[in-house]
């Protein structure tokens, strides 16, 4: 895993990343299976979102505090705010046509 932009934050970053990766690798395959019905999907998503918060919430807070300070020190906070204003990207992009759709139509 790559370093943090601030060497001070690297230990926190590595701990957070490995917490997320462990959670994510357990999350992904069952999440695909749970997509079968909306009710299943919602129940699973809620349970796993809570679990993520419980497992990685604490280390996330320490890491976030460290990195947001580093972002400010590098003068990236204003650039980041401009980028967010210009392109919030808060919603997932519309699912584009999948390659299999392309095959079907041709």
């Amino acid at each position: 895993m790559a370093h943090s932009l601030s060497p001070q934050c690297t230990p926190l970053k590595l701990e957070y990343d490995s917490c997320f990766n462990t959670w994510f690798e357990g999350y992904l395959e069952p999440a695909i299976a749970a997509a079968e019905t909306p009710a299943k999907r919602e129940a699973y998503s809620r349970q796993k979102a809570t679990e993520f918060q419980e497992k990685c919430g604490k280390i996330w807070e320490s890491y976030r505090d460290c990195v947001s300070k580093a972002v400010k020190e590098k003068g990236l906070d204003t650039l980041l705010q401009q980028a967010r204003d210009e392109n919030p990207l808060t919603e997932p992009p519309l699912p584009p046509s999948t390659p299999s759709d392309g095959l079907k139509s041709s």
Binding site: D17, R46, K48, V67, A83, L89, T98
Partner: protein, 179 residues
């Protein structure tokens, strides 16, 4: 504006590719990426979609004229937003440069979607665009400055030549009167 795009398949299932996304760096072939930080992440408790906002730090040899002209440095930072939707098996990653963003933007979009149970389709598109409005403002400013300087100089030229002429002919008149 310049466009770039490519597409191909990875011989791995979608879930393996998406898990691998978080292990992409460090990687000896992409040694220009030197830091990665997650600055925001959310797991939607309704849809299960994971949104991640990261800042990537890159070190790349920049031509010296670019550094001199735009005041950049070898360190460049990129903002990256990814959405992973397990229910539609779709992962999209959008990146835009933070460094030098007042002059030009490089907007990249990557998408991973399943091609079959053991193959993943990858598409990448990028739009590279100089901020023309800024160039225009700068060009207009330069033009205005040039016009002002020209008007000032033209005015001073007139005053100066008026002086030269009057001095010259006053002297000539004086000389004539003496002879």
């Amino acid at each position: 504006m310049h466009f770039f795009s490519q597409a191909f398949n990875y011989e791995h299932p979608w879930s393996h590719v998406v898990i691998g996304m978080w292990h992409k760096y460090p990687n000896s072939k992409c040694s220009h990426v030197i830091s990665i930080d997650t600055i925001d992440r959310s797991v939607d408790p309704k849809t299960g979609i994971i949104r991640t906002e990261r800042v990537l730090g890159c070190k790349q040899k920049t031509p010296t004229w670019i550094v001199k002209l735009f005041g950049g440095s070898e360190d460049a930072f990129v903002r990256e937003i990814s959405f992973i939707d397990p229910s539609t098996q779709n992962a999209t990653i959008t990146s835009v440069n933070l460094s030098l963003s007042q002059f030009a933007t490089c907007f990249e979009r990557i998408q991973y979607s399943p091609m079959s149970h053991s193959r993943t389709h990858f598409t990448q598109t990028a739009e590279i665009q100089a901020r023309m409005t800024l160039w225009r403002t700068a060009a207009d400013g330069l033009e205005r400055w040039l016009v002002q300087r020209f008007e000032q100089n033209a005015h001073l030229g007139k005053l100066g030549f008026t002086d030269v002429l009057s001095t010259l002919w006053q002297e000539r008149q004086l000389q004539q009167a003496q002879t």
